[in-house]
């Protein structure tokens, strides 16, 4: 993926340098669960604004450590609301720029069609051997999954079957490769254009866990970057919101 991104990136960098001095560029650290929608939003944004958004995908905790060590990101699209708040408090982020760009939807998903029922009873009854959950220490979707299990009174029963992904992307991989029959993943990963791409799923009711508020923040180094400001506005516009909603996020 990195290599695939690299060549077009280098080329368009050159093109950008040659063509226009007005267009700005912003590096965006994007939470793994928001990968697919952000790729589409960034493409639209570049078309509409002429600015360039260079995307990096990964775990929010890792981005925090990298930002603390001078990583040149202009914007963080976090998987939670605590990391941007912390960055704002520590003066590494622009407090006023912070807003919730999406509220994540947790889903219990299986690659097998017809395996997950629409009430999640499969958790109790299923003869599954492994269930993939993102590391609750590191990923908000993992924490929400554990809260859901606790709410259902299934923590003890399910815990021996848990395999942990280090982020929601790896968690999805465990379930998508069929090695784990079930997985608590982000709806955005299994949904496209408002439909489930494959398999079967239970949308976990939002009352089962604390809301997965995903906040964005402009980092201090980019407070004068026109592309960063424009992208933050664009994310709150109708076009971006329609894309975000089509991946199953709420606001």
């Amino acid at each position: 993926m990195i290599q695939r991104r690299f060549a077009p990136l280098a080329l368009s960098l050159l093109a950008a340098l040659a063509a226009s001095a007005h267009a700005d560029e912003v590096s965006v650290a994007v939470a793994a669960n928001f990968t697919a929608p952000m790729q589409r939003i960034a493409a639209e944004f570049e078309k509409d604004s002429g600015h360039k958004a260079v995307l990096s995908f990964g775990a929010t905790g890792k981005f925090y450590a990298q930002i603390n060590n001078g990583a040149p990101f202009g914007i963080l699209l976090a998987a939670d609301d605590t990391t941007p708040a912390k960055l704002a408090q520590e003066g590494k982020g622009v407090a006023a720029s912070r807003f919730t760009y999406a509220i994540g939807q947790l889903v219990l998903w299986s690659k097998q069609a017809g395996y997950v029922d629409d009430k999640g009873a499969v958790l109790k009854m299923g003869d599954y051997r492994h269930i993939a959950i993102a590391n609750p220490k590191l990923a908000p979707y993992g924490l929400a999954a554990m809260e859901t299990l606790k709410n259902l009174g299934l923590t003890d029963q399910v815990t021996p079957k848990i395999v942990q992904g280090e982020n929601i992307g790896q968690t999805y991989q465990f379930a998508a490769s069929g090695n784990a029959q079930l997985g608590f993943v982000a709806l955005s990963q299994v949904m496209e254009d408002g439909k489930l791409r494959e398999g079967s799923a239970w949308m976990v009711p939002s009352a089962m866990h604390e809301p997965i508020r995903q906040d964005a923040i402009v980092l201090s180094s980019a407070k004068d970057n026109a592309a960063a400001t424009a992208l933050m506005q664009y994310l709150q516009g109708d076009k971006a919101r329609a894309i975000i909603r089509s991946y199953g996020y709420a606001f």
Partner: protein, 232 residues
């Protein structure tokens, strides 16, 4: 909880890592010996391709190996279907799965020193043994193996150390299960990601000391062994 010492979780990861490295080293020496012997002596046209396959894990990123192992050993992969048909179940998320991954990952570190050692022997010792009436098997075990001892030491130490340091494959294949698949490298990664830097430092510091000791030990062993290895 104390933040300045190794936690029970850390210790569990350390023991698991040592177990994984020991099992992998033992198995790999057994598997690599005939392979290295063949590579050292064959005139087959397959020598090149097979030698390249053995070297591949040196070149490929662990994420590539881990990803393919996850897919091929899973329910939709050929290896997964084989292990399932044999009643072994599926290997990802199990200790056995990590062993298989480590065997692949550390293969060149076992084969290459052995191959060099066997090549260094040349044909003379075996020819001498044959003129004295030793069978091929006998001369392999009584002449070639003892003479190649330095190669075995290097292969064992490198395989063990390399397996201890493995990260990408166990992360992708293991599922991070405490006491089952969560090895030291993954535990350190978790500590760092969770910003538990003190714990990360302790465990990472242990790894640095371990690696240093291993490499110094290898240097001490090697010159002496090289003298032993030139027998005639």
């Amino acid at each position: 909880m104390s933040t300045s010492l190794l936690s029970p979780d850390d210790w569990a990861a350390i023991w698991l890592t040592l177990e994984l490295a020991s099992v992998t080293t033992a198995l790999l020496l057994v598997l690599a010996t005939p392979l290295a012997w063949w590579l050292a002596h064959t005139a087959s046209r397959w020598r090149g391709p097979i030698g390249a396959v053995v070297t591949l894990p040196l070149v490929l990123p662990p994420t590539v190996i881990g990803f393919y192992l996850l897919v091929t050993m899973g329910p939709n992969g050929p290896v997964g279907q084989l292990t399932s048909a044999l009643g072994l179940g599926y290997l990802p998320f199990t200790f056995a799965g990590l062993v298989v991954g480590s065997l692949v990952y550390s293969l060149p570190f076992a084969v290459q020193p052995l191959q060099r050692a066997f090549e260094g022997l040349g044909r003379r010792p075996l020819e001498v043994a044959a003129t004295l009436g030793a069978s091929r098997i006998d001369s392999f075990f009584s002449v070639a193996l003892p003479l190649a001892r330095p190669g075995f030491i290097t292969a064992a130490v490198l395989t063990f150390a390399h397996t201890v340091g493995e990260f990408g494959i166990v992360l992708m294949l293991g599922g991070n299960i405490p006491s089952k698949t969560r090895v030291v490298s993954v535990q350190i990664y978790d500590h760092v990601e969770a910003m538990e830097y003190a714990q990360a430092h302790w465990l990472a510091g242990c790894m640095v000391v371990f690696a240093f000791v291993v490499l110094v030990a290898l240097q001490w062993l090697q010159p002496r062994d090289r003298n032993n290895a030139s027998p005639l």
